[in-house]
Amino acid sequence: MERTPELNLAMPNLAIALHTERFDPMARLGAWHKLLEQRTSNSAAESLFIGRVRPTASDDGIALEALELEHYPGMTEAQLEALARASCQHHGVSSCLIEHRIGRVLPDEAIVLVAIGADRRGPAQRCCQELLEALKHEAPFWKREWRTDGSRRWLSGNTPL
C-alpha cells in the first residue's frame, strides 16, 4: 500500500522519501496531488522526471540483473533537502516532491521521481532539471551494476545529460 507523502513542515509543499522497495511513481504522484489539493496548493504548471533502471550495463551493453543503490543514511536526506530548498528558492517554485530508491533495483523499475509545481512552465522545468542534476552529483548515492554474466561494477559517475 502506498503511503501518503509526508510534508516537510519547515518548508511548505516539500516532501522527500527514500524507498527500500519498489515504488510506483504514478501512484506516489497521485497521493502527492491529493495532498496538495487538500492544501489548495495545486500549481498551474508542473514538471516531472521519472528515472528508471536501464536493461543493460552502461559501458558494454551486457544485460543487467539489477542495479544496487547504496547511500549515506542521514547525509542523503539532509543533502536532498538542502538541494531542494536551494533550487526551489532559486526558481521561486511552489512545490517539490523527491522520491528515490535505495537497495536493489530491477531493470525498468523506477529509481527517482521529481515533481516540481510552479505558476509557470519555465520555472517548473528549469527547477526540475537543476534539482535532478544536483541530486545526481551532490547527494551521496552510489550505483553498482549486477550483470547477468556474474560480474559487478561500481559506477564512477553519471550518464551524460
Binding site: E70, Y72, A78, K136, H137, F141, W142, W154
Partner: protein, 96 residues
Amino acid sequence: MADPSSYTTAPIRLRLFAALREQAGWSERDWPIRDHAIQPNHPPTEPLTPRQIWMTLQLEGSLDTVRVAINQQFAAADMPLQPGDELAFLPPISGG
C-alpha cells in the same frame, strides 16, 4: 601521573562507502585523536585533517577523486578535525 596513552579523547569515527568500503574491507572504524587541551605539557602539533588520515590509510586512488564529508556535510580535505567528528570518504557519486 597518568599514562600518556590515556590522554586521548573521543575518536574520529571513520566511514567508507561503496567501492572504497570494499577496497578497504571495512565500513566504519574509530581513529584515535589526541586532545592537546588536556595534555598541556605536550607541544601542540598541526591539527589532524582528512588528508592526513587518507594518506595513512593508503587506499588506492587519489584524494582528488574522493569527496570528504565531516559530520555528514561536504568539507575540504584540509579542514581540521575535532574529537568526536564523523569523517567519511566518498567515492564518485552517482545518484538519480
